[in-house]
Symmetry: C2
Subunit: 190 residues, 2 copies
DNA sequence: TGTGGGTTAGTGAGTATTAACTATCTTTGC
DNA sequence: GCAAAGATAGTTAATACTCACTAACCCACA
């Protein structure tokens, strides 16, 4: 359970990361935007890593809630994937901070605990898409000449690169629209 | 033109990044592995950024050389893509440092000049694959119901994610072999 | 041929800045 | 009146980079 202050710190952290990136996410900067001193932050979190871990955990939970809505319903495969992707693109559009955090594998390389959380999230997403594809394949809705793990890799990879490109281009195109195009390509492909 | 010492510094830098990641690539660490003092390094490069820029430039040139060999030959589309991908996977396998550098967009976000170089490399690869796909489409060798930019995004994205996963899993699977599987899926897909 | 001026590439000892984090004191709300 | 939550003022360690200095070499010219 998180206290009110903890929630506030998490929210301000996300905001800060959205504006200044992971690099700009320092305790000093955080204390500036949050309006109280650096040590005060340490009253609520033991370390900076703990704050980041909480953010990652939030993202993970979001993904899990979303998955529950999708995997076991009766939509077509492509509708399921479309739903998952559009939800994720929505999150990234509305809270671009998550891009910085989720895609910062390199930065967290030295921090085993953060790296592991990232890998965990990556694997969960892969597994979820594989599950969806598997059901589609058993329904003859999805081609079976390409195995589920390759298809999941292709879907995830394309989505990630699209998001990355959007970020690198200073968000100067409509992410959801381009995501829609991609989904359309997928539907032709499977 | 690079002096012998500059080449040495670049090579040691790549080695260092391979071992300790971008985070571990400090001038102090570099001076330690290279065997002479920090200021000496500054005799040969004006800044750390200049060293990284040179590494990126090297990678870019490698890619350009590779592309010349591919784009305008008479192989099938899938053979061309296979060649490009296997060459890239070879580079990543033999010099994993390039993974750290090429995929460190987030780290370089604050350093406009490095970020731009990364974007440049990303765009060149996208364009090259688009060219290959375009030729294939005009030969009726590649499906035309999915446009070249989507196909290129899908190819690149899957490759990147595969490499990223390999890195995050401490290189504990055979990258070239998995890359081969992916190419196989592509050949069925197009 | 030898020497003096110039260059190259190195050194050890620093700089300023920034990072995460903390010991200690003070305020505030119940 | 006390405990939680703040502030002040630090610490330590790391960073990229600079300073003053020098050993060793090159080479024109007396």
């Amino acid at each position: 359970m998180q206290t009110e202050r903890q929630v506030q710190i998490i929210e301000e952290s996300i905001e800060l990361i959205a504006n200044k990136g992971i690099q700009g996410f320092t305790i000093k900067n955080l204390s500036k935007v949050i309006g109280f001193s650096e040590p005060a932050i340490y009253r609520h979190f033991n370390s900076k890593t703990e704050i980041l871990l909480t953010i990652l955990e939030n993202f993970k939970e979001m993904g899990e809630m979303m998955t529950v809505l999708v995997v076991n319903n009766n939509d077509t495969t492509i509708k399921k994937i479309e739903f998952m992707f559009s939800k994720m693109l929505e999150v990234f559009t509305e809270q671009p901070a998550y891009i910085s955090v989720i895609f910062s594998e390199e930065i967290f390389k030295n921090e085993e605990i953060l790296k592991n959380k990232i890998v965990e999230i990556l694997n969960i997403h892969q597994e979820n898409i594989e599950k969806i594809v598997e059901i589609g394949q058993s329904n003859n809705e999805v081609r079976t000449d390409i195995d589920k793990s390759s298809l999941a890799l292709i879907f995830m990879g394309a989505l990630r690169l699209l998001v990355k490109r959007w970020e690198l281009n200073n968000q100067n195109f409509n992410l959801k629209k381009e995501g829609g195009k991609l989904i359309n390509s997928f539907s032709l492909m499977i």
